[in-house]
């Protein structure tokens, strides 16, 4: 019986979290289209999510592109297909690696900060204070964060696509001695903007919605002082990253 109870409790918690997610999604959508529009706050969040994440995303995708070229070259050389390294790097980056890795890095960087910030505001009654000042906390706090994440994730991913492909080019041409003209040619030969690049950007926008809403829900529902803030922050990163990976599979299955 104990075991069944424990399993039941876990399932209930999970369902509760999913319910909270969709509830917050509804409230965010409701308040996003109602005045007052706090443009300054939207911009501030866009800078935090987008601009401030550029170095992290740059390094992540640069090295991912580099190691992709290194590994595929290694493998492809075994059956004399070195010429196709550029295509493989370009396709895997735009369709898969750049959106997912960018989302995971931004979740760690920005999602954790969002959960900690909202969690601290919750436990120090700042969220109650907002309500008491006739200001809807979801509108003031959650809407700008989610909107900024949905808007900025595709842009970061687009940058990641370019940087990653450049990293692959560097390794293939400078390190492994591939022909630069053939490499570039092959990189773009099988890459279609509508299918590969845009699908990656759509994924990125969905990931942005996922991690920012999860982080905001975790922060918003924080209980129990400093320890509670810590728990929310961890939970935001863990469940944010997990749902990005799960959503990635289903999106890929659905979109292509």
């Amino acid at each position: 019986m104990r075991l069944l109870e424990a399993v039941g409790l876990v399932v209930l918690r999970l369902l509760e979290q999913i319910g909270r997610f969709f509830q917050m999604l509804g409230r965010t959508a409701f308040w996003a289209v109602r005045p007052p529009f706090d443009l300054a706050e939207w911009l501030r969040q866009m800078v935090r999510v987008g601009f401030d994440s550029i170095p992290v995303v740059f390094l992540t995708t640069l090295f991912t592109g580099m190691v992709m070229a290194l590994q595929t070259y290694n493998g492809f050389a075994r059956f004399h297909a070195e010429g196709w390294v550029g295509s493989v790097v370009a396709l895997s980056l735009t369709r898969e690696l750049s959106p997912v890795l960018t989302a995971l890095m931004v979740t760690g960087r920005v999602g954790s900060a969002m959960a900690a910030e909202l969690g601290t505001m919750r436990v120090t009654e700042q969220i109650d204070a907002l309500t008491s000042l006739a200001t809807e906390p979801v509108q003031y706090l959650v809407v700008p964060r989610v909107a900024a994440s949905v808007a900025m994730m595709p842009l970061l991913t687009l940058m990641g696509d370019a940087v990653g492909m450049y990293g692959g080019y560097l390794v293939a041409v400078q390190l492994l001695g591939a022909n630069p003209v053939t490499y570039v040619d092959n990189s773009f030969k099988y890459l279609t903007v509508a299918d590969d690049v845009v699908s990656g950007l759509v994924k990125a926008a969905v990931f942005g919605l996922l991690f920012s809403l999860i982080a905001c829900v975790r922060g918003y529902d924080t209980r129990g002082g400093a320890e509670g803030v810590g728990r929310s922050t961890t939970a935001a990163v863990v469940s944010g990253s997990l749902s990005i990976l799960l959503a990635d599979f289903f999106l890929t299955k659905l979109l292509f």
Binding site: M121, E125, L133, A134, T135
Partner: protein, 269 residues
């Protein structure tokens, strides 16, 4: 339900019940506060005083019972209407609850800007409010740089900035030294004088309750055990009131607790 007394009451709590899980916090709380009156609600820590106060401004929804603000049932309104109704309120929180990413000026200006006042009007009103709470020249400071008493007073200034009709104070002087406690009480009296607002204060500090309240009510076990003007409250022979006024460890208030008193005390935060 049209009793004549209700017309004059600014704020009415009607048979409020609230439980969190198995824990019953409010078990039928009813009271009225007249326009311009000041009610102090006292009680031991952990009896749900803050929960009661949060019910009055609609931060918490009662399981049953009603809160009427100027005759309007808070929970009969739509979400947006309820937000609008909250403009009548100014609330001060236990630790001030200042927005720590904003300067003192921006904190006090927050409600004014949200409610669409013009910049020079905002500047004038913020200055006025900071003068009322005797804080000048701290505009550019961040909340983290202020002492507890100052943070509390900035919280007051923010609460009165938009000229609310009802002021709620949640433990305005908990954790302050005796002198600052008295200064805070003086500031509250001055604010009352200047704003003519209806006031509800939650406190466990008897001298403050006597000073601030036109009436004092004792909250315990989820109910208001006794309410009376300060002089009468102090003279009351009700054993629970006597225990609280005299601050004794033994009596009906502590007998009602299931755990031994010592355990309670060691668990208090």
């Amino acid at each position: 339900m049209a009793e004549p007394a209700r017309a004059a009451a600014k704020l009415v709590a009607e048979d409020l019940h609230k439980s969190f899980g198995p824990k019953v916090v409010l078990d039928g709380v009813s009271f009225e506060v007249a326009d311009g009156e000041s009610l102090a609600i006292v009680g031991p820590s952990g009896t749900g005083k803050s929960v009661l106060l949060k019910h009055l401004i609609g931060l918490i929804r009662p399981d049953s019972g009603r809160v009427l603000v100027g005759g309007t049932d808070v929970w009969s309104l739509s979400h947006i209407e309820r937000n609008r109704l909250r403009r009548k309120f100014g609330m001060s929180f236990q630790e001030g609850a200042l927005f720590d990413s904003m300067s003192v000026f921006d904190n006090v200006a927050f409600p004014l800007r949200r409610f669409g006042r013009r910049p020079n009007e905002v500047r004038k009103r913020v200055k006025e409010c900071l003068e009322i709470v005797h804080l000048e020249g701290v505009d550019e400071k961040m909340p983290g740089e202020l002492s507890g008493g100052m943070r509390r007073r900035v919280g007051f200034a923010r609460a009165i900035a938009h000229e609310p009709e009802i002021l709620l104070f949640d433990e305005p002087n908990t954790g302050l030294d005796p002198i600052m406690t008295d200064i805070i009480d003086e500031v509250i009296l001055e604010m009352r004088e200047k704003t003519k607002a209806t006031i509800v204060t939650i406190t466990h500090h008897m001298p403050s309750a006597e000073k601030i309240g036109d009436r004092i009510a004792l909250l315990f076990g989820g109910r208001l055990l006794f309410q009376a003007p300060p002089a009468e409250f102090l003279r009351s022979t009700d054993p629970a009131v006597r225990q609280f006024v005299e601050g004794r460890a033994q009596g009906p208030l502590t007998d009602a607790m299931t755990e031994p008193v010592g355990k309670r005390i060691s668990e208090a935060p």
